[in-house]
Amino acid sequence: MAQTILPFGPQHPVLPEPIHLKLTVEDEIVVDALPALGYVHRGLEKLCDIRDYNQMVQIVERVCGICSKIHAMCYCQGIEEMMGVEVPDRAKFLRVIWSELHRVHSHLLWLGLFADAFGFEALFYQFWKIREKVMDINEATTGNRVIVSVNQVGGVRRDLSAEQLRWIDAELKVVEAQVRALRATTLDDYTVKKRTKGIGVLSSAQAMELGAAGPTLRGSGVAQDMRQLKYAAFDRLDFQPISYPDGDSWSRCAVRYDETLQSIDLVRQAMARLPEGELSVKVKGKPEGEVVTRVEQPRGELLYYLKGNGTNNLDRCRIRTPTFANIPPLVVMLPGLELADVPVVVLSIDPCISCTER
């Protein structure tokens, strides 16, 4: 059979962001895939040359719209470690609350997009409708809807009142009930299973070898999560990573579905154990030295390498995002699939291209 090369992306109905895959196909079967990136590179890391280390908090937030809070938290943790700043306890818990809310809305967004990828429009709208409640919580508590700007080096900039905590709790109850009502549709429906079970399989050995991260890794049966590092207030919360053994698109979907409910539970735990105290400490001096910090983003491990030189500007701010780690596993998943399954599998790693290219 003669081979044909088909371009998939950078503009494709299923892709929210531009990634180009050069697919070699034999009839309808994919035999090889070659990814090409570089459509949304913005050079945000280089801005550390002209913006000081405090201004960089707002800049790294713009690396990714969906998990802005988590980027800023990771960056602030790095600078705080470099400067030897101890963040107040209340700030640590508040960071967990907002970062887990970001995980909830990111996973709900993905569950919707995934449903859309295999043509289940009704489920797509349903998940996005639920997500709006979480976005409203973000907007009401932080002042902004998407890029929340609550972090600063040394703590957080906003507080949650007792009334707000009660309101969040009530809203999350509704969100949880609505998400639970969709469990059977998301994971047990005949059509959903037909499109996702056994499609795009990544074994746990392959996942480890290729350095997969986040739900892609946990969907292959490896229970590894950066929240096990006990950063922020995770040392005082009950947390066990969720994993599914099959390594197919369905497993990755199941991991994200369960993580949505787990994150809601983590927000509740953090709200119940929220200590009284200061929101931030005053930071004096200028960052000097090198530091590597890691946190768990909705898509997997996020790593920041920061190098300070004793001035207000950093020497280097290197960001490694989970999608970057998940592209080699994606290239392994695609060969052998039918062309119609490619959108589902590409979406199953939850690609965030603007993160990857920065």
Partner: protein, 128 residues
């Protein structure tokens, strides 16, 4: 025929009220403390320029000589940094966002520039 698990949700959606509102005829009230359009209470401004220096998107220009405070709302990222660093607390975010604009317009505010210190005024006079 077996009904799919989505059917109860679909029926519920059909009989429940709408999830969306007919914008722009019905507009939701902004949440309290929402970071909307930036506003400068120019009478209190001392034109120190701290907001312009600290702004991560460099959207504010302050002219001390002429008593001008200018903000580019298209570059502003609504982070609230300027509001926090302002020594006289003259900067505020309004609750509502700026309406959609067809032209790029700056938020310009003119106030009374601070009086020069005697020493500086004498230096200027000598230069002239």
């Amino acid at each position: 025929m077996r009904l799919g698990p989505m059917v109860p949700t679909v029926v519920k959606n059909l009989i429940s009220k709408k999830s969306t509102r007919p914008y722009p005829f019905v507009v939701r009230e902004p949440f309290p403390d929402q970071r909307g359009e930036l506003y400068c209470d120019i009478e209190q401004c001392i034109f120190c320029g701290t907001c312009a220096r600290k702004c991560p998107s460099q959207c504010i220009t302050v002219d001390k000589e002429q008593g001008l405070w200018i903000c580019d709302p298209f570059a502003c990222v609504y982070c609230g940094t300027c509001e926090e660093v302002c020594p006289t607390h003259c900067l505020h975010h309004k609750g509502a966002w700026r309406p959609v604009a067809g032209e790029r317009q700056m938020i310009e505010m003119k106030g009374t520039p601070p009086k020069k210190k005697k020493k500086d005024a004498a230096k200027d006079a000598a230069a002239e």
